[in-house]
Symmetry: C2
Subunit: 209 residues, 2 copies
Amino acid sequence: MSVPISGKVIKRLTLYHHILSDCLLKAKEYISSQQIAELLKIDDSQVRKDIALCAASGKTNVGYNAPELKKAIEQLLGFQAQKAAFILGAGNLGSALAKHADFADYGLDIAALFDIDPAKIDRLINGKKIYPLSELHHVATHEQLVNKRRVEIAILTVPASAAQKSAELLVQAQIKYIWNFTPTILSVPDSVRVCNENLVGNFLEFTNN
Amino acid sequence: MSVPISGKVIKRLTLYHHILSDCLLKAKEYISSQQIAELLKIDDSQVRKDIALCAASGKTNVGYNAPELKKAIEQLLGFQAQKAAFILGAGNLGSALAKHADFADYGLDIAALFDIDPAKIDRLINGKKIYPLSELHHVATHEQLVNKRRVEIAILTVPASAAQKSAELLVQAQIKYIWNFTPTILSVPDSVRVCNENLVGNFLEFTNN
DNA sequence: TAGATTGTTAATCGATTAACAATC
DNA sequence: TAGATTGTTAATCGATTAACAATC
């Protein structure tokens, strides 16, 4: 990306993308900024401003061409460039994320899962294998040497009590981005970026005002 | 709440709460705004400003009393007032959320789950029963008449293709808040509030800058 | 005392909304 | 033409950061 796009804009563009996918499904060819704004309960001039960042232009009196705008968003946000990720914790949440059909469409490719439960080892979830957590470093090295890709993202869905220890393993395995679904705050070196999913916070935000 | 608190502040307060829980675990009695700020990579004056909204005061030279501040946040955000919710979709994600130990601590009480898979009906997840989706209205009425509580929140974890239909059932069942984990935009009356979890957006935000 | 920390005000920064000319 | 819509600039609003006196 040439110009940095703020997180808020990225999130909104993703929502526009969902709406556009739905347009395609319904064979709706054009959509206006007002219609998008109405669905998301936001201001229509904001929609136009966000869209102005993409390589797409609207038609006066008609709106935006849905398939065109969809592609422009995909290009802007770089959905093509697949990024590989590990999932730590193959419980319900980890499994749900491994199965999340959309992730692949948006450039997130799950390389493998890890768990400490011996019963789960070697099982497949959505075609992805579950490895013992102790083999994290080994699998990361294998991905790099054999599959020629560096896995820089990890999705953390272990129990809260195991979160910090897991994060430390991830740092050792040269992971650069940790997407933290546990309700804990991780302490990691500055070179590693943590994104706290903070489900509880989202719930409180949304029911408290 | 007397003064409305912005969503951003609510989210940060929740993160502070996580940090404070960890302090208790480690028997750390005091924590400074700088220490909290360092863990979350934010500005320390912002931490102090957020805390100023709570009924808690810090000590010059020492910081904030962790158990005290924790309680003050709980009071401010209303963790005591339990709110009941239904989960639609008892797949991996729905199950994960039903098991999420923390939700109860933060005032979210799962009343029941719903699914269309006959094999899942009547099973228990974390002590919560799974009902056929067709009984949504019936269960809602039962909660109101027998358990004297109105369930106003629904957590939507059904497949994307079933999302809009499910939302319509929820509207009929008088649900007021829909926490939408599906990658779709729901079309609902203005009286119903939708919170889009937008996992894909969060992922893109965090790996794109 | 010197140093660390809070609480709060002022300054800055960024995001949202309003407005409207241009277009078809 | 009248009406609807984009694209963009200016105005507003809100959130973050800087700064510092007060305190222990």
